[in-house]
């Protein structure tokens, strides 16, 4: 799952310079780069520390004085929440333990060699553009099974298991073939975003049905504002997300399950064709061809300048755009409208998940310490502290209570509540990166009018079939 609030595939200046340096070094045959790290493999000579005594305060049996190393991705959420909230919590619980902190913007660059040499850190925030492939990590047995953590009593109430303190779907989001390996910590809701101010000034209202939606787009267009758009240059997955959300609403959540499980003909399901046809029309009539050449930050900036009315994204957008959002803009979320009257899911249904992945390395010296660190993160104090520092809701139900969120997150939390049980998620992009790439490319082809819905589903299906047949790719099921 590549749901991170940070620039998805964007090349920031640093990355560019780093890459340029890399390219400079290799000259032409880029193979040099690939062998920069040796293939020694991790024939784990890393001795794990012995367990401590289990007690009410230490249900996982962590060795009290064993050090733990924490790697934090220094992106949209920064590193302050770790240094100011979670690490002190761990220190408080285990005063004799040393907590080593390291923040990085390129997780894989820092950690790949550590894993390859069999000396991984205990706790990792695996996120950002250079995150390590979760699927590959799982397939290689590098990740600690989190079952023990989810079954442990919570920090706040020993009669409650940790798994009962988080929002439903959290554990599934981080599970591979039914086993929990990843803690996704930040609650994320997807939808279409607009400015409450722009809508109020023009007397527009968010649409629930497709007819209303088209009428809304038409009147926005009449105003000289681009009604709808996403960034084709690097954020096409924001749009396949909308198309697949639409498909799930039409045909039910099994539509997405079939895709994730690489079922034969999953992409050719009728619901997907219908959704793709409808959105291709939106692309052709109500968007701007030039957006294909723009990055997500460009299009988001244009929305902040009231040049684009509707933009699909997750609820990290409000925090991401903080610098550029004019006062009174008021981000609001609108769930993807219903396409037909016979849709299987109601108009309020939406895709929500947990984002921002954390894992414990199975082959580190002190994996129990890593699990305990997670348990501290999932305490009310840990979650509240995180939310206060980064202004984003966590998966810990008690952590968000009573916190005054900014308007955008407040609206997405309200939408999540309104959706009730009709909340779904999808996983194929995290499991099969190649399929994600193909879906992105095909989405651009579809939305910018080079192919139709039939060709769209055809080409993604072809890639899905190829992945299914490829024995070198580890398969996942849900």
């Amino acid at each position: 799952m590549s749901i991170t609030p940070e620039h998805p595939a964007a090349l920031d200046r640093r990355t560019v310079l780093r890459r340029a340096a890399a390219v400079g070094m290799l000259a032409t045959p880029a193979i040099g780069l690939l062998s920069a790290c040796a293939t020694s493999g991790s024939d784990n000579d890393n001795e794990q520390v012995a367990g401590g005594t289990k007690s009410a305060a230490n249900p996982l049996g962590v060795k009290e004085d064993a050090p733990i190393e924490v790697i934090i991705f220094n992106g949209g959420y920064g590193e302050k929440y770790a240094t100011d909230v979670h690490e002190p919590l761990y220190k408080k619980a285990f005063p004799k333990a040393e907590v080593k902190h390291q923040a990085t913007q390129a997780v894989s660059t820092v950690l790949q060699p550590r894993f390859a040499s069999g000396n991984p850190p205990e706790f990792v925030n695996n996120s950002g553009e250079k995150l390590m492939d979760f699927g590959a990590l799982v397939a290689d047995g590098q990740l600690q099974d989190l079952t023990e953590l989810w079954d442990a009593p919570s920090v706040d109430d020993a009669s409650k298991k940790v798994r009962d303190t988080v929002v439903p779907g959290t554990i599934e989001a981080g599970s591979f073939n039914g086993k929990p390996y990843v803690l996704y910590y930040v609650s994320t809701v997807f939808g279409i975003w607009y400015s409450a101010k722009l809508f109020k000034d023009n007397g527009w209202a968010p649409a629930k049905t497709w007819d209303d939606f088209i009428a809304l787009l038409t009147s926005i267009k009449a105003k000289g504002i681009t009604p709808y758009g996403y960034a084709g240059a690097n954020a096409a997955y924001y749009q396949w997300n909308v198309i697949l959300t639409q498909a799930a609403k039409i045909g039910g959540t099994d539509v997405l399950k079939n895709i994730d499980n690489l079922e034969d003909g999953a992409w050719k399901q009728d619901a997907i064709k219908q959704a793709a046809t409808a959105w291709a029309e939106v692309g052709a009539k109500f968007s701007d061809k030039s957006f294909e050449g723009l990055k997500h930050t460009d299009v988001q900036l244009r929305q902040n300048q009231y040049k684009v009315a509707l933009y699909p994204s997750g609820d990290w957008i409000e925090g991401e755009q903080k610098q550029d959002t004019p006062a009174g803009f008021d981000y609001q979320l609108m769930p993807v409208p219903s396409l037909t009257a016979s849709d299987k899911l109601p108009a309020t249904a939406l895709r929500a998940t947990a984002g921002e992945g954390y894992f414990v390395s199975a082959k580190s010296k002190n994996p129990k310490g890593g699990l305990e660190y997670m348990r501290q993160m999932l305490s009310t104090a840990g979650a509240k502290g995180f939310t206060e520092v980064v202004k984003a809701p966590t998966v810990v139900t008690a952590g968000s209570e009573g916190f005054a969120f900014p308007p955008g997150v407040a609206s997405s939390q309200a939408a999540l509540k309104a959706a009730g049980q009709d909340v779904f998620n999808l996983y194929f992009d995290g499991w099969y990166k190649e399929l994600d790439t193909e879906a992105r490319t095909a989405t651009n082809e579809l939305m910018f009018g080079r192919i139709n819905a039939d060709a769209f589903v055809e080409r993604i299906q072809k890639r899905a079939d190829a992945i299914k047949k490829d024995s070198s790719v580890t398969k996942f099921k849900r």
Partner: protein, 302 residues
Amino acid sequence: MRHGKYPFVIGFLFAPIALYVTFVIWPYAQAFQISMTNWRGLSAPQWVGFDNYRRLLDDGAFWKAVQHHGVLLLALPLITVAIALFFAFLLNVGGKSSGGQRQGVWGAKFYRVVFFFPQVLAVAIIAVLFQMVYRPNESGLINGVLMKFGLEPILFLVKPNLALWSIIAVLVWQAVGFYVVLFSAGMASIPGEIYEAAEMDGATRVTLFFRVTLPLLWDTLQVAWVYLGIAAFDAFAIVAVLSVDGGGPDGATTVLAMEIYRNAFVYSKYGYASAMGVALFFLTLTFAALTLRLTKRESVEY
């Protein structure tokens, strides 16, 4: 000093050769080994023999990239050398002759510095710069002007049949300066008397260029051709930073290095990526060998 000559020489060579072998030769050799495995970058690789190479044969993206290298291989040297030669000629011998010595056009010294500017900039900076130049809306350098005049913006990097040429234009822009300097140096070493003699016989500037400058520059041209050919096999930085959707739209600008990068660092298929790297290695090698062989001819002594 004959005595102890070899220990002396070996002592000097040891360190650089050891470094070179460790950091250049060894990784290259290792890439060949990795390309025979399905290494995902974490645990020990598994040997799969020639599987990765078999996969290459029906990988559409790979062949698309190879095809683009073909286009680059023709267009990049041809355009760059033509422009660079033209400028170098103007800068060195294109002006009036004074005192029997051919001069460059007026302001040649200034132009020479200006032409070299792109060479000074890092490739990544150039790519970011051209993001601004090519931007498809009113904030783009070119389209901003076009739209001021009420024209439709040109979607440089978005139109599939225009995108690759937009990338080539950047590569040419970046390379020309260096070859102007290279050719200038070559032209400076052509003796003035030859020009003088040709001129006395009534040669025009065009004849001078084709009958005197070009033949006497042949060695330099050959070097330029090989350099540019190798550059045509790279183009990674520009494509990675500038193109839409990483080598898009729909692979319309992808190059081998881009596919290698994607397979290695996005898909974690280091083995397969290494196989592509090995393929690229042989393509580059073949090209260099072929060029040197085909362009071999008697150089003129003067």
